[in-house]
Symmetry: D2
Subunit: 307 residues, 4 copies
């Protein structure tokens, strides 16, 4: 498995989560110009607790272009370069599992949350010699879609009003200047509202011709034994003051979302508060879970690097 | 003018804002048992920048009960003691201007925001020898009602969905433990949602029999020359990333609210972000502005202490 | 093992660290009046991520007085009650391992950091039918003494100037009000400077008559296989911007301290920056490590609850 | 007066402090390439509360090179460009008052704190047709030198050990990434320790041949009526928990430093805590006060723009 954008915030989180993964082994790391020619240990200013995983320290950082010494690629490239690079890898035969926004709305690209719309895998057009792209949604959208999916499935959801309070990690590194956010709230993230609207609709939609598996929440995910899948994707708490980020973000290894304060609402029938880990369920863990689902469903057959 | 609860968070803010006020002079301070028998300078652990106003340093702290050496009282007592104490002062003939929640929903107590519902002063039953109570709303409600009033007046407002992000100052002192709020969000303040719902309805409602002045936003407030009234109670900003607390909370001396991100909304027709200073417009400044309106409208005639 | 003060900040950390401990099993929890008569699950407002360990949820909270259903007690009682209660337990035959400051300077009470002054165990006067008290130092002192011990042992340390920057967790719960510490630094913790001075001197001192083991850093701790002991108690980093709390506090499971920025100093020959986890190495983990040392050295023989 | 680097953090603070200044009027603003050709209102992303001063909004941003439509220049250019630009302005006849570090250690450049070493103005070699450079120290050094000056003057200071806790504003904009500083302490600012050492020595030193005025703290500053000079440059507080940034940084309009916790120290005879406002006393206010001193002492004669 190769990581595109391995030195970035989400890239580091991918690398950390894949350390010791029973199935997915990092064999290549690629990043922008500045890092190339260095080892990963030299190129990477590690910003997570602990150190760069020792197995990757001596790996040479490669340019983000095929061929790369791997069978599949995980991409956390910044939005301004991800588009053509990911298309190039797919054209060269690699399955591309991406956290970037560039291809999320493409017709043949599933916007995938395994617990919600695994059936959307049917959107992948499998052609000989060609790879494909699978994306995970925007960090906020993942939580929103996870929370709405069972409501949509059982009751139908007509409309929702959402206010997000987002972790600074969502902006990557260096992201938001500390002078701008200390003692402050910034009510704007470029394109965020648009992403949330259109991505949620795509995820909760049905794939035409996608067959029987194309309904949310009917996919028997738990039988697949995916390594990163939480025991319980949605935790509901009864205490009036939960969820709280400090107490709940790491639930299920950062892959469970927590719901609380469910109440009747005079305007929109019901309201609730949902919380999820921004860089695990909302980014790196989402991409890895997608890779695991693809592997379990046979989309990576003969492609997973064995060690 | 006497301050009840003068040593608390809002009490200190009242004292600071009244320093040098052209009309309202603090002549008495009252607080709970622990402070009594001390001077205000001794009793008060000053938590605002600067020092206790020198004119008040030697004032004896009195028990919160009539008689008090003043003609009117401003109350920032905690909710658990405000109810009977304020009623006692009113019964003893004092006009009571309160920031506490105890009497806000009483039938003969205006829940007053001068720019919004000055006409609600008609709710005061003026009887010889008796005082009265005027309250200001909850800190969130003041901003919500200020923002909705012109919309209500011109277009009518059927329903709204509100998410608040509140400053820790709203909980008073000591309020929220730092261990509970650092690196965290707490999605619950006891009774807050109920207060916002019922107080907003009372403020934006019409006083039956209140006559021609009982409509929001028609009162010629600017002609009254109230000292604490901002030039512009509602500022609208066009930048996509405003309002921001650090940049906008002190607008109009902390008495203007700032609106931004006005946009069409697919679910509820329009949406926007509003911001106001929690302890000035939302508490101390609100009470002082109410006192100024009462004075200007003749409700304190012969009662204001002249110096 | 019984936990005194089990519902407090350090008590909860003790309970969390002891979950699944191979040797030390919690059989009793005691706390102040308010919690008694409730189960631990009811009495404890859990402030750590996750939930109250399920094995303890139904345990009845007992008053902090002997007899208690355990062989040894870990005490994280607040300073105002710890003194007599711990003495009472010791008198009743219990070994008492305390994080409280009350008995730290007592003549027959070791102020113990296993890696530094294990030889001080010789201070314990073992008398038939009587227990004893062993304490760990103040959170800042543990780090200072750990950092100085090898310097003292090899070069001798004449004097040091220390500035501490302390986590808010050091004040317990509710501790510091958020209004006091947000956007602020408070340059004072009552008695902290005095504790650091006198405790460091006691820890780095030699026990008269304590024999050959009474020298710091000569005790073969690693051979004892203590469960909570970190592989490396002192990590030294070369990067100019380390240690940093976010990156380094969890090193060694929170039990390693990290040193950086070692440099020659014009005034005091050398200077450096040291960092440790405030509630693990500085409190709960320190007490548990002391318990493990006592067990390994035979001081708890026949006392450890076996399961 | 022209401002070099007017759109930066310190530049904006300069502009804000000079609004309504009785003597110093901004007539020109210069900044780096990106801003040129725009008005100051267009070029400047205003990061202070309120808005760009209206008088400057339509001013064209100029390149930072002479000639500039002003008699003197205030420079807050970043260190990487300040050196040659400031030299160029001085060579062209402008008095340059700089907050940048480039020329601080030059032989003919006073490193000036008016209350401490006004006599160092004697270092300026006044030659016909030529300007000169006057600098203010690093933000930490200003506070340290202000605190030490009276001790040096009365008792002599042999040595000191200093630990600084610095506001994020010291790094300019965008400065420190929020991901790096949230829930964290970074123990390193490049060159900071070296600057503090060498600048403090220069400030507290005597100018050879500088004559009778070359002693710290003997200059009758208060008689000069400098607009930005605080009534009391050093405030001493007795409370054990002061100074605190939130309560004390704005003392004297941000130009007073506050000292507390003065105590005997076993190692270095005495210790204390000092606090000052990082961007006012430590940067913009320091430069403006220097300009006012130069004006009062006749160094800008015929140069101040009168309006």
């Amino acid at each position: 498995m190769g990581i595109l954008g391995a030195t970035g915030t989400v890239g580091q989180r991918l690398v950390a989560m894949l350390e010791g993964h029973p199935q997915l082994v990092v064999t290549a790391v690629a990043a922008s110009d500045r890092s190339q020619g260095k080892t990963f240990g030299e190129a990477c200013v590690w910003r997570l607790p602990g150190n760069v995983p020792s197995a990757l320290r001596a790996l040479q950082v490669r340019p983000p272009e095929p061929p790369l010494d791997c069978d599949i690629v995980l991409s956390s490239l910044p939005a301004d370069t991800a588009g053509p690079v990911e298309a190039q890898f797919a054209a060269a035969g690699y399955p591309v599992i991406s956290n970037s926004s560039s291809h999320r709305m493409d017709d043949d690209v599933p916007l995938l949350i395994p617990e919600v719309n695994a059936g959307h895998l049917a959107m992948i057009a499998r052609r000989s010699g060609r790879g494909f792209i699978v994306t995970n949604p925007n960090c906020s959208t993942i939580m929103i879609a996870l929370a709405l999916a069972p409501l949509q499935s059982r009751f139908g959801v007509e409309a929702g009003v959402v206010t997000t309070m987002q972790a600074i990690s969502g902006a990557g590194y260096p992201g938001v200047a500390s002078l701008d956010i200390t003692d402050n709230v910034v009510p704007y993230i470029a394109s965020e509202e648009e992403k949330i609207e259109r991505e949620t609709l795509k995820i909760l939609g049905r794939v035409d011709g996608g067959g029987a598996r194309g309904r949310p929440a009917e996919f028997p995910l738990s039988e697949l034994g995916l390594h990163t899948a939480p025991l319980c994707p949605i935790l509901v708490r009864d205490e009036p003051d939960r969820p709280q980020p400090r107490l709940d973000r790491d639930a299920g290894g950062g892959m469970s979302i927590t719901i609380g304060r469910i109440a009747r609402d005079r305007v929109l029938s019901h309201r609730f508060v949902a919380l999820s880990h921004n860089t695990i369920r909302g980014a790196a863990g989402a991409a890895i879970l997608n890779a695991e689902l693809l592997a379990a469903e046979g989309y990576l057959s003969g492609m997973i690097n064995e060690q």
